[in-house]
Amino acid sequence: MPYGHEMRGQRGYSIITDPSAKKLTTEEDTYTCGHCGKVVWVQPLKGPLGGRCTCCDHLICLACVGKGCRPLQKQLELMERRRQYVEVLDRPLSE
């Protein structure tokens, strides 16, 4: 059962404390790319951030824009299957 604070979304949050800056504490939002898993800082009015994949409906980073839909979960499955395949090939023939 999902908990109230565990909303399915891609939003992260950061707090920067910098005594050398004009503002002691800066709060910034982030989101995690739905394709490569990279964390993107949302800084308003500072150029393009990325996009939204119309296939899987996830926010994606700028590097993933225009590269087709490759959801992170699918990539993780492929990494795991690739490793399992290599382990099967490494087994002795007598097994």
Partner: protein, 158 residues
């Protein structure tokens, strides 16, 4: 999912920062315990020593790991004491770097600054696969600051 916490003060000797990336913490899946996916839900970073007389920046970064380097094993603490030990492997204070591929989190900060990042949403966490030695490495570099640094990691077993 159980949540765990560890940092590079848990074990070994803190390695001073240099102008090349130094890994302070790493966590990964291991077939020695049971390969499970994990996700990082919180990172706290900051210098752990007196600032350099010359003002400078520290670049903090998290990269995907595919092979381990030379380090000290650490035992992550479960946030809820009743939870069992983590199935992930955590190491700290690397003296020789592992093999890393894709940077997934990075931020430059002033040497006097510290930062806390958290992922309250499920899909905001940084995932790694259930593949032996695959995980995340947390590192930093600075062209000028040469003291110790602290990286705190919170993650969940999936």
């Amino acid at each position: 999912m159980a949540r765990y916490h560890f940092d590079n003060r848990f074990a070994g000797s803190q390695q001073p920062m240099s102008s090349a990336y130094k890994t302070a913490c790493a966590v990964w899946s291991s077939t020695a315990t049971q390969a499970r996916r994990g996700r990082c839900v919180g990172i706290t970073v900051g210098a752990d020593g007196a600032p350099n007389a010359t003002d400078c920046q520290i670049i903090w970064q998290v990269q995907r790991q595919t092979a381990d380097g030379t380090s000290t094993a650490a035992t992550p603490n479960p946030i809820v004491p009743a939870d069992t030990a983590s199935l992930q492997v955590a190491h700290v204070n690397y003296t020789a770097e592992g093999t890393y591929t894709l940077p997934v989190w990075g931020r430059p900060l002033n040497q006097r600054a510290s930062m806390q990042w958290m992922a309250p949403d499920l899909d905001a966490a940084i995932l790694w696969p259930a593949t032996n030695l695959a995980g995340l490495a947390f590192m930093a570099l600075s062209p000028t600051y040469t003291g110790n640094f602290l990286i705190v990691v919170e993650y969940e077993d999936l």
